[in-house]
Symmetry: C2
Subunit: 179 residues, 2 copies
């Protein structure tokens, strides 16, 4: 199972590809960050996120995309941009018929560290260990993207197969009716 | 000047096309709503919004897209979906090099009614009058989309020309660096 994890953001959107199955050692295929200039127009920043995510999908052909579920109780200033960047990532996956799963930050932390309240350093340390890397991926957004992908591989494989089957049958959703 | 106004939403995304210049009677070219099924997966709802907006852009070729600026102090449950639908609309415009402007609800109300605190009925009544329609457009999201387009035509035409010139030179923004 090959999963692209996306830690959404406008300034830094973490992306990481992990391959594996539950109960076997996991392999990191790639990790990085899609950046957009903070002084650009919002619509152009979203376009840059789209181009970045498209490039990752083209290069790594993931079977699933796991995106961090954004909550609005976070910092009010940044949460809108985060929600919008996540929308672009979900849209890119949906266009290709790739199933999208959303995982909350605490689900991700619990999956890789055993505690839903683990800090960034702990998540980074476990990602490094689980993927047998020489050093924790930087920046934290990149490590978080890998943690999302790992979380997705480990959570409910049966559910993933179901979701994949559903996605295959709903690649072309009902078009919005226009008048 | 032809403007597509977008009142973003996942369940109902209002869309309306208005043509005109400040100081002259305005013309409504089309109005409608892009709907997505509430029981669909979020990624597929975003895809349906994209398909709907693309269809409106194809059919009406607007020179500007005016989108309601989303604030996070609104209803926490719906605001994330609204932000995500607005991201899709902005992205569709940016891909075509169409300048996107964001207007706040109070700017729109003030533009069409003279008061930033006008209610839905008042906005609907003024949209009906300004566009010389037989009846207020339904649902309210459709009327709001027309109000957004009117607001855009009336606000700072010089600024619009500048923005259009800038957009022409930044159709291909800096790609997100990927590692």
């Amino acid at each position: 199972m090959r999963v692209l994890g996306v830690d959404p953001g406008l300034t830094r959107c973490g992306v990481g590809v992990v391959e594996g199955v539950p109960g076997r050692p996991l392999t990191m295929l790639a990790v990085g960050v899609v950046r957009t200039p903070a002084d650009a127009d919002l619509s152009h920043r979203l376009l840059a996120v789209e181009q970045g995510v498209e490039q990752w999908l083209d290069e790594h052909r993931p079977e699933f995309v796991a995106v961090e579920r954004v909550f609005s109780q976070h910092n009010v200033r940044t949460v809108m941009g985060t929600a919008q960047a996540s929308a672009v990532a979900m849209l890119c996956a949906a266009r290709r018929g790739i199933p999208v799963a959303l995982h909350t930050p605490s689900e991700v932390k619990a999956a890789v560290t055993g505690s839903g309240r683990a800090d960034k350093a702990q998540v980074g340390a476990m990602v490094t260990r689980l993927l047998r890397l020489a050093a924790p991926p930087k920046p934290a957004d990149a490590a978080d993207a890998l943690a999302l992908a790992i979380c997705h591989i480990w959570r409910a494989p049966a559910q993933n197969r179901l979701q994949q089957a559903v996605a295959r049958h709903t690649v072309n959703p009902t078009k919005g009716r226009t008048a």
